[in-house]
């Protein structure tokens, strides 16, 4: 397309300038702007509002179980989104659950990235038996459907917040490692790497100064595509009762616990369901746009 040729032909500009224009290009498209706005609201709710919830999210009031959302005060207080089976305020739990779900994703993605990036760069650059062994491990891991692997790891590690982060990092790093390794393998042969070697640069220096900056945009794109995947996996595991354990709420767990209420109280699973869809939608909109701007070659590549 004509647009992309123009971008490539653009003269090299100062670094900060380039960053500003990348950000502008992200926000210029409607999908990028909507995604960014949606995400800003959700982050504000998850990491701001969740600390000043209207009620204590754990406070039970068995006098008003499964109260529907309403503006009218019941039992001495307004429960905007109603109450759950134990009379706990759904809005308060939703905000805290949002914080937990976002927090898990924002912990898992950087950790998987760091692990996959480190392993991929070193094995791709060095080669040898370690490369062969680790890549066979990556192949094997990518041969098990991700959720099935996660379930098997949960069976060993157990459930809970830290365990779930570990499970999702274990399931997440091979996707990065495979892509980074392929790039490092190609970059090793490029002129600038050979030149750096010729003037006596150490391997560590070449990796840090020449390989890393060149794989970073790709990794950033993979990371943004990985975020919604992690959100869904955590929610799925918590939904099944294999993830975040009560009393700590998470969005998936709230849906799971409301599963049996579909006949009496359809709004109970619907409220966290809508929120989780919005979270994934925001990450998808923004992720697609970031990919198109930063690394159009990855278009069509599925999630990690």
């Amino acid at each position: 397309m004509a647009g992309s040729t123009l971008v490539f032909a653009a003269p090299h500009r100062a670094r900060s300038d380039g960053r500003a224009s990348t950000l502008l290009r992200l926000l210029r498209s409607p999908s990028g702007a909507v995604g960014a706005a949606l995400l800003a609201v959700l982050l504000a709710a998850g990491f701001g509002a969740s600390f000043v919830t209207p009620y204590d999210p754990a406070a039970q009031n068995l006098g008003i179980p499964v109260h529907p959302p309403s503006l009218v005060p019941v039992a001495g207080g307004v429960h905007l989104l109603g109450t759950d089976q134990l009379g706990r305020d759904v809005l308060s739990r939703l905000l805290v659950g949002l914080r937990i779900s976002l927090g898990v994703a924002l912990a898992v993605v950087p950790l998987s990235t760091a692990l996959g990036l480190g392993i991929g760069m070193v094995t791709g650059y060095r080669g040898g038996w370690l490369d062969v062994a680790l890549m066979r491990l990556v192949d094997a891991q990518l041969s098990v459907p991700t959720l099935l692997l996660a379930v098997a790891v949960v069976a060993v590690l157990g459930t809970g917040l830290l365990q779930i982060i570990a499970v999702l990092v274990i399931a997440g790093w091979p996707g990065y490692a495979r892509v980074v390794r392929a790039e490092a393998l190609a970059l090793r042969e490029r002129e600038f790497a050979a030149a750096a070697r010729a003037v006596g640069a150490s391997d560590a220096r070449i990796l840090a100064r020449h390989v890393l900056p060149n794989v970073l945009p790709t990794v950033l794109v993979l990371g943004t595509l990985h975020l919604p995947v992690v959100i869904v996996f955590e929610a799925a595991l918590s939904f099944l009762g294999l993830g975040i354990q009560p009393p700590t709420p998470s969005l998936g767990q709230m849906i799971g616990q409301a599963q049996d209420l579909v006949w009496q109280a359809w709004w109970m699973p619907t409220i966290p369901g809508v929120v989780i869809t919005l979270v994934v939608l925001a990450f998808n909109l923004l992720g697609d746009r970031i990919r198109d701007v930063l690394d159009p070659r990855l278009r069509g590549l599925g999630p990690v």
Partner: protein, 309 residues
């Protein structure tokens, strides 16, 4: 067999060996594997019996070798909850999962290709925008939430369809739409992109110029050439559906392998979890191997590409 096929089969076998190794490591990483293999109320004697029965008192290398040999013989151990061989248990559940996956694949193909084709042909219209908005929503909706939503609408409010269990075709509809829906969304986006690329080619213009009807151009020339990337994604999706089945089967109480695995984890029945992971990987690898071999046969260009990788 061609060199390509041999390489591809060898890759699958090494990956399978890797999976078995991962399962073996998982069993040992938690410390004492005997604790994973017994129920919580097991006595000291039970543990000792397990250790001896499974050779857990032998050196790790010996255990690893024996483990591989056992799995290769098709022995996946016994379920502690049900007291039957794991292979028997899985054999009783895998059929339902295949049934669900095939139905979901059909949903993904029919819905995905139809939506994507309409969107591409009417590019830029409101139909295109609507179809792509639905597709984006479809990829953003976790399956368990879509499942509950469909249960609320078609089961609770309208009362049209059964919402759980295994039975006739009516029991299959909701789970298949939930599992297939996500992939239908992906396929429709891909069909649109792929078809738009093909529709811009010279031979399409030639076809139109020589007076072929629009329908002939679309179905005979355009869709056929746009099909390859779609087939690739469908092949991969079929394998991934085994993972997705874990959630969907749990929602709809569908008696398949996914539900079996979840209940095994909740019930601390580790041999079953282990067996499900091994069989799941074997099926996934076999499906992907078949898909790749078929492509190599359909499109000879791919053989060279795979060799270079």
């Amino acid at each position: 067999m061609s060199e390509y096929a041999i390489r591809r089969v060898a890759f699958s076998l090494t990956a399978m060996l890797g999976v078995i190794t991962i399962v073996f490591v998982l069993l040992h990483v938690s410390g004492d594997p005997a604790t994973l293999l017994v129920t919580q109320d097991a006595t000291r004697q039970d543990m000792e019996r397990i250790r001896q029965a499974y050779g857990l008192d032998r050196p790790l290398a010996v255990q690893y070798g024996r483990f591989i040999a056992r799995v290769a013989r098709g022995d996946l151990g016994y379920s502690y909850r049900q007291g039957v061989p794991v292979t028997e248990l899985i054999a009783g559940h895998i059929g339902a999962t295949f049934e669900l996956a095939l139905a979901s694949l059909a949903v993904a193909i029919v819905l995905g290709v139809a939506f994507g084709t309409v969107a591409a042909v009417r590019r830029g219209s409101s139909i295109d925008a609507a179809a792509m908005a639905v597709a984006l929503l479809g990829t953003s909706m976790p399956s368990f939430w879509l499942g509950l939503l469909l249960i609320i609408v078609f089961g609770v409010k309208l009362g049209w369809l059964p919402v759980s269990g295994y039975g006739g075709l009516d029991h299959l509809i909701l789970p298949a739409f939930v599992l297939g829906g996500f992939y239908a969304a992906q396929v429709s986006r891909l069909t649109r992109t792929s078809l738009l690329e093909v529709l811009a080619q010279d031979y399409i213009r030639t076809g139109r110029a020589k007076g072929l009807r629009g329908r002939v151009v679309l179905f005979k020339h355009a869709l056929r050439n746009a099909a390859l990337p779609i087939l690739t994604v469908l092949g991969l999706s079929f394998g991934q559906m085994l993972g997705g089945a874990i959630v969907v089967e749990s929602i709809f109480a569908w008696p398949g392998m996914g539900r079996l695995a979840v209940q095994a984890v909740l019930g601390r029945d580790f041999p079953v979890v282990q067996g499900a992971a091994i069989i799941g990987a074997a099926v996934f690898l076999t499906v992907n191997l078949t898909v790749d071999l078929v492509y190599g046969w359909v499109d000879p260009r791919l053989r060279g590409a795979a060799q270079g990788a």
